[in-house]
């Protein structure tokens, strides 16, 4: 699979303004050009159990060179386990995983030379400054002093950390720490980058900033596998999305395809008087191509309305009002992971009782 030209808008339905990629600016690209044939990541029938907990029960997917794959699923779906196997931290029980052409179980050392990892865990030493952290990691990758310094400066500049470069990372905000951590993972110019829930725990503003940074990487042709619990995030960043649940792949496609299966935007509300729940659902019949779904316990109704959110909202209000049904929290919103799960599995993501991922504490200071 050839590396794709990201500058010319071949991004399917994920239209996105053309950005000047890193490659387009002064200095070399963030990652090295592909050096092997075939996909960047191949996962075949991958299995892993922790005791009785079956974290992965036979997972298959591929990431082409220069592609961005979003591994989407709730907590405990197996995303982190998959990333841990692909980054050589855990040996799979069965199946096969290739990264940049190397088998992760048979030649982990070769894989480690070619990957970058950032996300939930941190490689930052808080007592050291941003620049010192980069210097240490540069030394660990055996970069010569000049290269080390040049790349560090470049990354500090591009990840907007230049002003804070000589301050201890302890004082960085959560967003800055994540960016510094990302910089550490980019220092070696990895052929394949893994980002494990890169924005979990960040406030909305820091999340947007992180997205912007990742988008630049992507524009420069980085091969990226990212895991996320947010459909919106996968939609923003990924070419293709693989949805995992309870250690299995339950869907795969572009964000647009997945959203199509959900039925687009969602109108939802709560009925104040539970006895009116059925009547409320009936009142909405025919409003969109989809059937309203009712959660009797929460007295909650949701209806997928395609791309016509606002006009459908007005119509919903009109019909409920005409039927004399009092509601609370009536809103139209973009589809979430929960909606995808509801559409694909019949249960929401939150109620998925998948096996727990071996947990690592979240880091970041949350301000």
């Amino acid at each position: 699979m050839p590396a794709r030209d990201r500058g010319s808008g071949h991004r399917g339905t994920l239209a996105r303004p053309a950005r000047p990629g890193w490659a387009g600016r002064a200095g070399p690209a963030a990652t090295s050009p592909p050096r092997w044939e075939g996909p960047a990541v191949v996962v075949e029938d991958l299995r892993k159990s922790y005791g009785a907990v079956r974290a992965l029960r036979g997972v298959d997917f591929e990431v082409g060179q220069g592609q961005v794959l979003g591994l989407l699923g709730p907590n405990g779906a197996g995303k982190t386990t998959a990333v841990r196997i692909l980054t050589t931290l855990v040996v799979p029980d069965g199946g096969r995983a290739l990264v940049a052409g190397h088998d992760v179980a048979r030649s982990p050392a070769a894989v480690r030379e070619l990957i970058g990892l950032a996300g939930q865990a941190t490689a930052i030493q808080e007592e050291l400054t941003g620049r010192e952290n980069l210097d240490i990691v540069g030394r660990l990758y055996h970069l010569d002093p000049k290269t080390r310094r040049r790349r560090a400066e470049e990354l500090l500049e591009r990840l907007e950390l230049a002003d804070a470069a000589d301050r201890p990372a302890k004082g960085y905000s959560g967003g800055m720490q994540r960016r510094l951590d990302l910089a550490l993972s980019l220092l070696s110019r990895p052929a394949v980058l893994f980002l494990d829930e890169p924005t979990t725990g960040l406030d909305p503003r820091s999340r947007l900033a992180m997205w912007a940074v990742i988008r630049e990487l992507v524009a420069a042709g980085t091969t990226l596998l990212l895991t996320t619990q947010y459909l919106e995030e996968a939609d923003e960043l990924a070419d293709r999305i693989v949805v995992v649940d309870q250690g299995r792949v339950i869907a795969e496609g572009t964000a647009a395809e997945l959203k199509g299966r959900v039925g687009g935007e969602v109108i939802e509300f709560q009925v104040l008087d539970r006895t009116q729940l059925e009547r409320a659902a009936a009142a909405l019949a025919g409003l969109s191509a989809h059937e309203p779904s009712v959660d009797p316990e929460a007295a909650h109704v949701r209806l997928a309305v395609g791309e016509r959110g606002s006009s459908s909202l007005v119509e919903t209000v009109r019909r409920l009002d005409a039927a004399g049904i009092a509601t609370e929290g009536l809103a139209v919103r973009r589809p979430s992971l929960d909606d995808v799960f509801l559409a694909l599995t019949g249960h929401g993501a939150a109620s998925s009782d998948g096996p727990p991922t071996p947990t690592r504490p979240r880091w970041g200071r949350g301000h």
Partner: protein, 272 residues
Amino acid sequence: MRAEVDPLPPVVRAPSVATAARSALADVATLTRRELLVWLRNPSLIFFTFVQPVMFVLLFRYVFGGAIPVRVPGGYVDFLMPGIIAQTSAFASFGTAIALARQVQLGMIDRLRAMPIARSAVLLGRLAADTARLVVTVVLLLGVGYAVGFRFHNGIVPALLLVVLAVAFGAVICTVSGFVGLRIRDEEAVGSFGLVWLFPLTFVSSAFVPVTSMPGWLQAFAKNQPVTIVIDELRALALGGPLQLHAWQSALWLAGIALVFVPLAVRAYRRA
């Protein structure tokens, strides 16, 4: 989905043994540097590294010391210093265990394991940094000891050997603590567990009182456990007396502990 993968993986340097060793050494040096930088940036760490042992010296010298009869040339302070040096070296390993547990918790060990660095480099780097810190601590303690009346009675070479043995002892205890930290992986639990094994081991020894003052059943343990053996050798080096027996026993104990716990710690690191 099955893909035929063209077997043309990127060229990754396949290092010779010498190159691999050189690169492992470079990794150890980098990680040692990192640990020492962290230590230097942490005033509270420095403070506790030094203040606690100094406090112990003063406490035993001036508070308990008068009540403890010993038969050594310069009185209790000469008896005390070798003991306190060993106790401090052992307690220094607390930091090792806690720091490693914290790094596992934060996922930092994971990140290091995903990098192309020698498997043993993280532990060896830490050990090297701990050793450097131990040298500083032991020298500082000797300085404080001199200020409160302690004197070497056996010449300069044994005095230097005392520093070497005390540091080696501390480093070996660090390998045990390193294993504990990597296995327990919880900062607080590691701290409590450290007290559980380090306190009895260092206090039920000849560190602060003559073993003969303990009840018979306790003497049996106190006399023969490695901390006492090392302390008796330290004392012989400082004050004079028969060196050889305890020297051999100390060396065997330290080598034995290291032989067991270094592989265990490396294994725990791989599985962290």
